[in-house]
């Protein structure tokens, strides 16, 4: 599903450059649940951003479902964001001015989905996440764990094939974290969604099939 070949990433610093990723090769298969681990500054977030098409590698090749990403137009990338990739952020990044319902609905709006279908999809997801009662609340009326559930709901509503999660439980306490991780596991097992998460916690990493250790920009 995802194939990285000789991916490097560096940022210019002064007259030199700071190498964040060095010659990374990585293959992730459909239906996998992968955890990326490593100390701060090891490049794990950069790796995730490259996977999510939010950042471009300096060198190397990235194939998403067999297609080379570097040669994709802006439009094609947006298409991938709309349909194939879902994001979950550490800071949830819900839109404060929208209700739970509307936050979840937003990705469908960008897919130009007809209103009736949108309604049933969102209703479906709310039901699955046990949040029907909260659908008209605004993000600031929810706890952190609940906000992250909304974040995940929003990530999966468009039925992506991959979810990229950047420390999804970093802002949560352990009970909430467990709920979130079980949700991921459930999505992975029943919906066959590929999940890639960045995490610090061994416990969270254990929910996945595979752990990728990254250190100083290199996969161990």
């Amino acid at each position: 599903m995802i194939q990285l070949k000789h991916i490097s990433k560096h940022y210019p610093v002064g007259f030199g450059k700071n190498e964040v990723l060095k010659d990374v090769d990585l293959t992730i298969f459909p239906g996998e649940f992968v955890s990326i681990m490593g100390p701060s500054g090891s490049g794990k977030s950069t790796l995730l951003h490259i996977l999510g098409l939010l950042e471009e590698p300096s060198t190397g090749e990235y194939l998403f479902e067999g297609e080379p990403v570097q040669r994709m137009s802006e439009k094609k990338r947006t298409q991938l964001h709309r349909g194939s990739i879902g994001f979950v952020f550490q800071a949830y990044h819900l839109i404060d001015e929208l209700t739970v319902y509307e936050n979840i609905e937003t990705p469908l709006l960008y897919k130009n989905m007809p209103a009736s279908e949108r309604k049933s999809r969102v209703a479906d997801v709310l039901d699955r996440f046990n949040m029907v009662a909260k659908k008209d609340l605004f993000p600031n009326q929810l706890s952190g764990g609940q906000q992250q559930l909304v974040g995940i709901a929003r990530a999966i509503v468009a039925e992506p094939r991959v979810i990229l999660a950047d420390e999804p439980t970093g802002n949560l306490h352990s009970d909430q974290a467990r709920v979130i991780m079980q949700m991921f596991k459930h999505l992975n097992e029943t919906d066959k969604i590929t999940i890639i998460q960045v995490t610090h916690s061994e416990q969270n990493a254990a929910f996945g099939h595979r752990v990728i250790e990254i250190r100083d920009g290199k996969i161990q």
Partner: protein
């Protein structure tokens, strides 16, 4: 999707109530001003366009410059119009007008004065679009002694418009047959007549004289014929007809005149230009006109106030871009394209603009009567009558919305999602430079408007207090005293016996009046005609100079009792003395034609009076000759009383006793004087309002930024206070940045305002200078206002308990 945008926009507005209030409030003020000015400018530009053939109608003008004296007029020879049509098939029709400023119309036993009358050729209804409610436009004015009335006049005299065939006794001399009733002429016309009299009764309308310039002449050309063609034909005519005329009557040719550097020119002015350009040097206007300068000034003022409001919007959105930037990031990762984000931000600003527009429409509708009054014209905002207004409004809405929303739409939407989500850009401080620049722009505009207001006010004061060479205060003017005939002297004596009346003079040629005449004079009995000089020459009596408080600087006033020869005496003003070039003008003689140039009359100069302004101060004093001769046009009495109305009543009783039934028309000379500057006064008033509104809008924005800054620096303020900063320290800290911007703005505004206002003042022949203190005063006003606006917020922030602000972190 669009609904979603509006929902977000609405919730954003609701959440940020203060900023929304500032944005909507500022834009409402800006749009209200913009709408009112749009109506004003549209009205000005619509002059004479009610004529369906307006683009094919031209008025002919005269420009004669001989021996340093000018004759510039909108009137041409009686025969010019007919000749053009006869000689050139490209000219389809001509119509000549000869306005009559007062005719006497009998209504029952009363005789009423009517000021809006004119003789007109019968072709007037074919050239101008003046629909008749009754009568046949083709024949209405063909027969002598026929008259066409306006609807208003018809109702006034007959209480009906169905009056064709009725008779009307006019000027105490003849009965006129009513042959038509026309709709009242539109307000936006350069002439308004209630009575059109048939030209055919005027003998000189058929004369072949190329010397008399008596008629306003309009020509209708065929489609495709332009101004240049007409001007070239007028030049041909000048050589073909005018030159032989000069040769025959005056014994010199046009070529000789031109060799001297003088000229005789005729030109065609497009109808649509008349309202703006006709009266620059020409005193022979039918009605006072507009000034294209004011159209520019007001358009600019409107645009600038709108700009200030847009800048508020931009500034507050950049200030709050931090929170919006995150939204941009999230939406992009959810699959939003940039153009969708642009559309989202623009729809947000359009929503605000639409709200402001609705409020502005209401406000404009409410304020329009006041504005109309202030501007001295009738304006309506009836959208059903003027569908193009809707187009203008929507256009305005789209443009303002685009301008106001441009920054968030095009800048924020370009953010890379990663950067904003990572928390870069979140401080919002990197746009501080842009904000500062925009604040400077706002205060430059405000400062220019403040300076402009002070300069206009100064000039109006200057006009009021300038020594104009005569005393206009406490002078009662009786207009149209012709009906007194032989009783004039008895009447004058009777009025002088009324206690409180000090002196009185009789003449139509008053400094504030409309009577003017400019004949030719010669310095030398045997002088060639080409050496003629043109000056104003007025008939007055010996009481003129003392009554009006003018000053004789050399020689003496007229004194017919002691000097029998004073009937041929003249008094000249200083400017005339200078132009004539006599070392000692007293006793010198001037000659003017009695009937024609072969029969000259000599007059000797007995005195020189101090120049006095008999035109508006827009124009310099021109040469003037006063001659002792009876002229019964009007009377002026110098009065001194605390009960002016009682005195007027006594004068009226005397009038009614001597000429019962004749209209008693009076005015005060200082009021007449002020009407000369009505347009300037109006502009001044409108300008002051605009300046005030501009400053209010700019301060709204400044207050918004102050609130934002205070919010942003809450933590800093808390820490500083904990470490011992006083309230004064904090207020200074928060205010000084803003004051710095205002100072920069004043520095930029000073030369700009000087340049613009100097241009405005140059339009006056007599004007104040712009003193340095004007800029100082304007600067102080701007700073005080800005300081007041900002410090209110700063003090609030400074007084906050530091524990509170630090706890929130």
């Amino acid at each position: 999707m669009f609904k979603n945008y509006l929902k977000i926009a609405w919730r954003n507005l609701w959440k940020q109530k203060v900023f929304t209030l500032i944005n909507v409030g500022g834009l409402t003020i800006g749009l209200t001003v913009g709408l009112l000015l749009l109506l004003w400018v549209k009205n000005e530009l619509s002059y004479d366009r009610y004529n369906t053939k307006w683009d094919r109608i031209y008025r002919l003008t005269t420009d004669i410059h001989v021996n340093g004296s000018d004759f510039i007029s909108s009137q041409v020879q009686d025969v010019m119009g007919p000749t053009l049509v006869q000689d050139y098939p490209q000219v389809e029709k001509f119509v000549r007008l000869q306005p009559q400023r007062d005719i006497m119309v009998q209504k029952g036993h009363e005789t009423l004065q009517e000021k809006k009358a004119a003789w007109a050729d019968s072709s007037i209804f074919e050239v101008f679009t003046l629909p008749l409610l009754a009568g046949n436009p083709k024949t209405a004015l063909t027969a002598p002694f026929s008259v066409v009335l306006s609807e208003t006049a018809a109702r006034k005299y007959f209480q009906s418009t169905d009056i064709v065939g009725k008779m009307l006794h006019i000027n105490n001399t003849a009965d006129y047959r009513v042959t038509g009733v026309m709709k009242d002429m539109p307000d936006a016309s350069h002439f308004h007549f209630d009575f059109l009299l048939s030209m055919s009764e005027r003998a000189n309308s058929r004369s072949n004289n190329w010397g008399n310039h008596d008629y306003y002449t309009y020509v209708l050309v065929r489609p495709g014929v332009d101004n240049a063609f007409l001007n070239a034909r007028l030049k041909d005519i000048t050589y073909k007809y005018v030159s032989p005329f000069y040769q025959q009557i005056l014994h010199f040719s046009l070529e000789e005149i031109e060799k001297q550097g003088s000229h005789v020119r005729y030109a065609a002015m497009p109808l649509s230009d008349i309202h703006f350009y006709a009266n620059r040097a020409d005193q022979s206007f039918i009605e006072p006109s507009g000034n294209i300068q004011y159209v520019y000034i007001f358009s600019a003022a409107g645009i600038f106030i709108l700009l200030i409001a847009c800048i508020n919007f931009m500034n507050l959105s950049t200030a709050r871009s931090a929170s919006r930037a995150r939204e941009v990031g999230v939406r992009k990762t959810l699959g939003s394209q940039r153009k969708q984000l642009i559309l989202q931000f623009l729809s947000e600003s359009w929503l605000i603009c639409a709200m402001a527009m609705l409020l502005a429409l209401v406000a404009a509708a409410i304020l329009l009567p006041f504005f109309s009054e202030m501007a001295g014209k009738k304006m309506t905002i009836n959208l059903l009558d003027q569908p193009q207004l809707i187009v203008y409004f929507i256009g305005l809405l789209l443009i303002v919305g685009l301008l106001a929303g441009a920054y968030p739409a095009f800048f924020l939407s370009g953010f890379k999602p990663l950067q904003v989500l990572k928390g870069k850009l979140l401080s919002g401080s990197n746009t501080g430079g842009l904000r500062s620049a925009l604040v400077v722009v706002q205060f430059v505009i405000s400062s220019v408007l403040i300076i402009g207001t002070i300069v206009i006010y100064n000039q109006l004061q200057y006009i009021q207090h300038r020594q104009i060479g005569y005393d206009r205060r406490q002078v009662l003017v009786l207009q149209n005293t012709y009906p007194l005939y032989k009783q004039v002297n008895a009447f004058r004596e009777a009025i002088l016996r009324i206690p409180g009346v000090e002196n009185g003079t009789m003449t139509g040629f008053l400094p504030t009046g409309q009577y003017r005449q400019s004949p030719s004079f010669f310095k030398d009995r045997n002088a060639a005609i080409k050496d003629a000089i043109t000056t104003e020459a007025w008939q007055v009596d010996q009481h003129y100079i003392p009554t009006l408080g003018m000053k004789v600087v050399a020689g003496r006033n007229f004194d017919p009792q002691n000097f029998g020869t004073d009937s041929s005496a003249i008094i000249i003003n200083e400017t005339a003395a200078k132009m004539l070039g006599f070392k000692d003008p007293l006793g010198k003689e001037l000659y003017d034609p009695k009937t024609d140039v072969s029969d000259l009359r000599a007059s000797h100069i007995i005195g020189v009076i101090k120049d006095f302004n008999f035109n508006s101060l827009h124009h310099p004093v021109t040469p003037l000759i006063l001659r002792l001769q009876e002229e019964r046009g009007s009377m002026a009495f110098r009065v001194k009383t605390d009960h002016i109305q009682d005195l007027v009543e006594k004068v009226r009783q005397q009038w009614d006793a001597m000429v019962p039934g004749q209209p008693f028309l009076y005015a005060f000379m200082d009021n007449e004087f002020n009407t000369l500057y009505q347009a300037d006064q109006r502009t001044g008033n409108i300008f002051i309002w605009f300046a005030v509104l501009a400053i209010i809008v700019a301060c709204l924005g400044l207050a918004g930024l102050a609130i934002f800054t205070a919010e942003q620096r809450t933590k800093e303020i808390g820490i500083r206070k904990v470490h011992g900063a006083s309230v004064t320290d904090i207020v200074t800290l928060l205010s000084k940045d803003f004051i710095k911007l205002v100072l920069i703005a004043i520095v930029i505004a000073t030369p700009l305002a000087w340049y613009v206002m100097n241009g405005w003042l140059d339009d006056f022949a007599y004007r104040t200078t712009i003193h340095w203190w004007v800029f100082l005063l304007a600067g102080c006003i701007a700073i005080v206002i800005a300081l007041f606006t900002v410090s209110f917020q700063s003090i609030k922030a400074a007084l906050t308990n530091p524990i509170k602000s630090l706890k929130t972190e």
